[in-house]
């Protein structure tokens, strides 16, 4: 090609995208939405349909990105850091650490609360910081205990009501010859263990931080009792030896493979079992967390709608949320999840669907749940400690590095104190 024609043609090619500026549809209002993929397959297309119906009714455009669960941290961090983007369903522990990038949504949260019959306490606690709402409570991943009912019957046992009973049951149900372990819970950095450990810590009367939200109190007898309880089950062989290396899906896979008799997890196990192994599905029993010496507690992974501070489409985003939060529409979306996502709105949770069986256990876990940082408020350092799995790390230091319980707990408390002191500088 002759050089004299090359330059004008190159310019023409590079200028083609600019034609988009003259396209009428480019002037249409455009809302970008980020939604967390649900493992309940029906939820994702249902949400897409809601977004598209809203867009059509408003003459706007909605582009929805469904973020896979495994990419959650990565994608949400990228969303927060990017200059563009309007509305996203963020895990509340990520939202809390990035409040400076998020819009104050107090007015819309209050407005939506009216139709929702108010939010569950955990929803309210996870949405606010210093009196300002940074997210609108949407849903939670409930965390319940799973049992193999056939094994319970074979050992003439029932669902344990206390943690002591649960420990005895775990040892009873362990059958190494058959390759079955009593309690399948990871001891590493997976999400399930983080939720399990936090709940047990409260159940034993311990906590990471005191009621003032600033004083680190992890180094306590109650923490040592919690650690000794879990460690005892591991040392007695009721927890599989490789538990330190598990990820969030390992306990699911092992329960479905009938290698563990009990576990604590979201209702994703049911969803998969119902479709792939109906015989196993029929044998699954559930309960909320057993009662510890200081009561029954729960933990849920909360999600809330956030609007980016830099977004130029805040009004559009709020309009979409009003559409989404119409009670019947919202209730139908949650019911498609089959318990994968539990509502954080009182009026939805009181509907008949949530009154029976595992769905009732899901609501029970929401009702008993406490927010990170409890008995203090949900704060940025509380979220950071959870995100960095600093309490989880105690077990690796004891099992791998042969630290004593005392030394491992003290070390974790020191690291957490550093987090809180950095947050205050």
């Amino acid at each position: 090609m002759r050089v004299s024609r090359f330059i004008p043609m190159s310019l023409a090619v590079f200028c083609l995208p600019l034609l988009g500026c003259f396209n009428e549809s480019a002037k249409q209002q455009h809302l970008s939405i980020v939604f967390v993929q649900s493992w309940a397959d029906d939820v994702n297309p249902a949400f897409m349909a809601i977004a598209q119906d809203w867009a059509r009714s408003r003459g706007a455009k909605a582009s929805v990105e469904i973020v896979p669960i495994r990419d959650l941290d990565l994608k949400m961090t990228a969303w927060i850091q990017a200059p563009e983007g309007d509305l996203a369903l963020l895990p509340t522990n990520i939202a809390m650490v990035n409040t400076d990038q998020l819009r104050d949504v107090s007015p819309i949260a209050a407005e939506l609360s009216k139709d929702a019959g108010g939010y569950y306490v955990i929803g309210k606690d996870m949405a606010q910081f210093a009196g300002i709402w940074y997210n609108i409570p949407f849903c939670a991943w409930p965390h319940v205990w799973f049992y193999r009912e056939d094994l319970l019957r074979a050992h003439h046992s029932s669902i344990p009501q206390t943690l002591d009973d649960a420990a005895k049951l775990a040892i009873l149900l362990t059958d190494k010859g058959a390759g079955v372990y009593g309690l399948g819970i990871g001891l590493g950095q997976d999400e399930d263990f983080s939720m399990f450990l936090q709940t047990l810590l409260w159940s034993f009367g311990g906590s990471v931080v005191a009621g003032d939200g600033k004083t680190v109190v992890l180094d306590s007898k109650e923490t040592r009792d919690t650690v000794s309880y879990i460690l005892g089950l591991y040392q007695q062989g009721a927890i599989p030896p490789g538990a330190l290396g598990w990820d969030g899906a390992t306990n699911n896979n092992l329960f479905l493979a009938k290698k563990i008799a009990m576990t604590a997890n979201a209702l994703s196990i049911d969803y998969v079992a119902k479709r792939r192994d109906p015989a196993l599905f029929a044998l699954i029993a559930h309960s909320g967390y057993p009662r510890g010496p200081k009561g029954r507690f729960g933990f849920v992974q909360g999600f809330g709608w956030t609007i980016k501070k830099r977004s130029n489409n805040a009004i559009l985003a709020e309009d979409f949320l009003r559409y989404l939060y119409a009670p019947d529409r919202l209730a139908a979306l949650f019911e498609k999840g089959e318990g994968a996502i539990a509502p954080l709105q009182n009026s939805i949770g009181q509907r008949p669907f949530w009154k029976t069986g595992r769905y009732a256990d899901a609501i029970d876990s929401v009702e008993n749940a406490k927010a990170l940082g409890w008995p203090g408020p949900f704060t940025r350092p509380a979220a950071e400690v959870f995100n960095r799995r600093l309490v989880n790390g105690i077990f690796a230091r004891i099992i791998n590095d042969k630290l004593s319980v005392d030394a491992a707990v003290r070390e974790a408390a020191t690291r957490i104190s550093q987090v809180y002191s950095n947050a205050n500088r």
Binding site: N98, G188, G245, N387
Partner: protein, 286 residues
């Protein structure tokens, strides 16, 4: 002749322009890393708290040592194990020989998953074999020593084919004229290797060693799939440390700081390797 065409005909100038463009891209990445150092929810303004926190973090220095140890061990293993595979590749151009390239060809994420299932502590292929032999299951990925070894073995298994392919020409003449010389002098196989093969292989081997160090120190995909840096922090290389801080702890500036501190260490190692490579080439030319 138009000036632009004259430039293109001057390959040296083109090469220079490409190097400048490449260095420019590297400079942009470094500047972006510096920008990230001051970003994130924990940094206030232009203070270097992320950098100082990283330098004071014992977990960071453990991950640096672990990364250097990992890189060194996998490189040594490759240097020792490559020769039989290179010889097999040299002797045979059959399907069998080309099948040796499979570990390199299969996407790392896929092969990492296969290794993960193989080494699951309950129900994994390795433990089925162990149980069949009458022993109790081993927590392959749950014990720090075995988890680290498996991560290293995966890296070696995956990259050996590339090494074999690159080094197989060095074995040319191992039989034939050079070998007949060796027979005349009655050299042992090890002497033949040391005197005939190694000198020819040194330039390529030096490049491969450098690449192995660079790639191993940046290993993330397989480590994340196999162990996520666990159990505990047994396999937490610098990449996992940076990822964890950047995306799981939402502290991008800490992740950037980790690499800003590590880069000079790697650069120094590569300068040493580069100087050795230049020295090797000079001796070969003399």
């Amino acid at each position: 002749m138009p000036g632009s065409l004259r430039l293109i005909r001057n390959w040296d100038a083109l090469g220079f322009m490409l190097i400048v463009a490449f260095l420019g891209a590297v400079a942009v990445l470094i500047l972006f890393a510096l920008h990230l150092l001051f970003s994130g929810p924990y940094n206030k303004g232009t203070n270097l708290s992320s950098l100082s926190d990283t330098l004071r973090d014992t977990e960071f220095w453990r991950s640096v040592k672990r990364t250097l140890l990992y890189s060194l061990c996998v490189t040594i293993l490759k240097v020792l194990l490559v020769w039989p595979i290179a010889a097999a590749f040299r002797r045979s151009r059959t399907v069998f020989a080309w099948s040796l390239l499979l570990p390199w060809i299969i996407p790392s994420a896929v092969s990492s998953l296969a290794w993960l299932w193989l080494f699951y502590d309950t129900g994994g292929g390795a433990n089925l074999l162990v149980r069949a032999l009458g022993h109790s299951e081993i927590a392959w990925l749950g014990l720090p020593g075995t988890a680290f070894a498996i991560c290293m073995l995966f890296n070696v298994w995956r990259e050996l084919p590339l090494w074999a392919l690159a080094l197989s020409p060095s074995l040319a003449g191992f039989r034939g004229s050079l070998a007949s010389l060796a027979t005349i002098d009655d050299l042992t196989p090890f002497q033949r290797f040391r005197l005939l093969v190694l000198p020819r292989a040194k330039p390529v081997l030096t490049v491969l060693i450098a690449l192995s160090f660079i790639w191993a120190s940046g290993e993330f995909e397989s480590i994340w799939v196999l162990t996520r840096g666990g159990p505990g922090e047994a396999t937490e290389l610098l990449t996992v440390y940076a990822f964890r801080h950047s995306f799981l702890s939402q502290d991008i500036s800490r992740g950037a700081a980790a690499y800003i501190v590590f880069t000079p260490i790697m650069a120094l190692l590569l300068v040493i390797i580069g100087l050795y490579y230049t020295h090797t080439l000079r001796r070969a030319l003399q």
